[in-house]
Symmetry: C2
Subunit: 463 residues, 2 copies
Amino acid sequence: MEKSTDYLGPFFEPKGIVIVGATRTPGFGYAIPLMLIKQGWGDKLRLVSLKGEELHGLRVYNHIKDIPDPADLAIIITPARAVPDVIKELAQKGVHNAIIECAGFAEIGEDGRKLQELTKKTAEEHGVRLIGPNCVGVVNTNNKFTSVEIIDEALKPGNLGIIAQSGAFGNVLLDGLYEKGLAVSKAVTLGNRIDINESDILEYFHRDDLTEVIMMYIEGTADGPRLKKTLEKVTKDKPVLVLKSGRTKAGSAATASHTGSMSGEDVVYDGLFRQSGAIRAESLEQLVDYARVFTTQNKPTGNRLGVVTTSGSLGALAADEAIKNGLALPSLTKQTVEKVMEASPSWMNVKNPLDVGPSGMYDTALAAMMTDPNIDMVLAITIIPYSVIKMLRPQGITVSDLFGDMKKIKALAPQKPFALIAVGNSEFVNQMQEQAGEKTPVFTSPEHAVKAFSALYKSSIYL
Amino acid sequence: MEKSTDYLGPFFEPKGIVIVGATRTPGFGYAIPLMLIKQGWGDKLRLVSLKGEELHGLRVYNHIKDIPDPADLAIIITPARAVPDVIKELAQKGVHNAIIECAGFAEIGEDGRKLQELTKKTAEEHGVRLIGPNCVGVVNTNNKFTSVEIIDEALKPGNLGIIAQSGAFGNVLLDGLYEKGLAVSKAVTLGNRIDINESDILEYFHRDDLTEVIMMYIEGTADGPRLKKTLEKVTKDKPVLVLKSGRTKAGSAATASHTGSMSGEDVVYDGLFRQSGAIRAESLEQLVDYARVFTTQNKPTGNRLGVVTTSGSLGALAADEAIKNGLALPSLTKQTVEKVMEASPSWMNVKNPLDVGPSGMYDTALAAMMTDPNIDMVLAITIIPYSVIKMLRPQGITVSDLFGDMKKIKALAPQKPFALIAVGNSEFVNQMQEQAGEKTPVFTSPEHAVKAFSALYKSSIYL
């Protein structure tokens, strides 16, 4: 029996919110109330500041105890030294959950470490659960509750849950994901993790129906055995994609170093992730690449990749990367070969990768590849000079006339992982993405697409 | 004494051009004359087609011999089988250089191989030098001569020379490079390389004052020893960045394979590139990353990297990657530490990577890092939530107010390699690129920037 994660509910679905440290000067204390009002949370929002008065049309109370209504979540944006007292007052008011956004704790040295200990002790004594400090808290796209200063586009609901140790990192990640076709269910930045940590959130996301894939950035864990146990459980049902810094001594200490060796600790993490079925990304871009594939594609039934291409070169680059990453490029079935040969010019060599060149039968070839029982997943490399696209446009000829209707082709084998690779001008890439639709990611590099498919395959064989 | 490369002159600076296979139907025969006219080459252009008549306002001659004027370059777009006769007629007319764009030679099988042999023999007998077949020929941005269907933006003159074996690949590469801040001097696609090959072009680019960096995509070489000797010579003066496909058997055969082994051949290439000082990229994106750094930055005086960041996480990711790739992150000099500490809040830890957090002294820290004698090259990680940028904009606060004037900071140590890393919304990235200017690349991933700097450092120690 898994333990309850109900205690995290108020962080994502608060009934009443207190912002302690609301202020008229630029910063979180000004921007977060403004944003919550804009997202429709004004009625449930109560502001507190020693200065009192009014902000964004809402009354500002001098003290937490002055608030007339009940509340279940606080966002604390006061100076760090005030936090322990704030926590006591919150508990007295009956508020038992708090996001501490302010910095100035363990990350600044000895004095900060002492303050962090005091904060932790105070919260434990008064039964207050904490996210932070030194973070930007949470986002819930479903009800638009967010303690993160965020652009509207990033609040589009989706199926990706995000756990980021660093607030700034989480914030800028959210700023860009929608441009890559990724939409978020819930996001949490953890900061110094006095109380709630990545394993708590993993358990919560595990039970959250709106979260189907989890993306995590951590610098380390305070509780390795628990993280391993939690990942083992969660990854059975939902993929967990991890980026971890501190691979080298210089990275973990962020300090001087001349050694090229991996830090011993990192080898432990590598084993932990591998054994628990988490998928580790090598870079920030790869983390996003993986998320694009994992949030849109089913797991493949095997490692057999089919590639259709208008460019032999890009087909060869994709084939190289596939073999290097444990995928196979099998021959097509006799039926597929015959089907394609029937439609193709005599010069065309029907194999895998299938280079259709300028034959004009891209859609026939791609449809045949999609339905071939020898093939578990398909990459479609669509390239054409942009000058040609521009010339054909006035004649009403679109990319779907040139390459086929990608949505229809995908529908021929909806369970097979399918992605596009479009190289060249960004306008062309955008046209291909629009045509392919939200459920088919378009990559701009064959190697990146193949690596993401390889990760998807590897996650499918983890037991 | 190096042999002359004058024989390649007419391919890039023709005095008179004959297009054999001009046509009114869509395709190269229609589009290439149109483009050359648009670029101001109409006066020097003569069109030939058995159908005669007129195209784009120019007379179309029935036969090459009918052309009244002299010419020194032909672009051949006829059916493949006609090519040997066309070459004879060109030689009789005194045209001794030809780009064969049409396909249908060795790449289609036995019949094509025979035709290719005949074409080669005919050209040799008649003293005609060939680029192609199965290619799209050349681009010279300086005089706007191009046999490639290309968008105007790609014709902006720059310092990057491109050699691509595949026509389609070269074409789409050109479509996108300008969006990444790269501008081309000359580009060549080689196709089946009956005659002129990558070593010829390397020698030509070596002597070309407008070409400072060379980017090459090859699937293989017909003459390994010559390529090695040529690269050894060229890389002493100009960096050569190489992407080679066919790393695996599946890639080189582009055929069925279940083995994960590198092809033996690829190991030979790897050695060839390393020994001759060429820089091999692992992927298409990395090739472009490298080009962005090599075309804009000097070689560093050592491997000591300095990192300034607003995000500790991204600083750690950069540090990890630096150590993994043979760079060092040394301590700063006492003078630099004192300079930064004087201006910084008490919580700031002055080290490398230098995380300035929200201290508001990014420009001071970056300037100090740029001028530190312990540091050979600098990466500036600039991140900030996009909602903040949007909020500050109406107040007239720009990214240069937040991070400093990047052009001025670069000017403090103009010889030091310098790049930015901006993560988040693409509009923010674009603002940073605009502010940084053409000579400072902005990357969207710390790992990619570090790998490019590492390649730059490694190229600086090759003897």
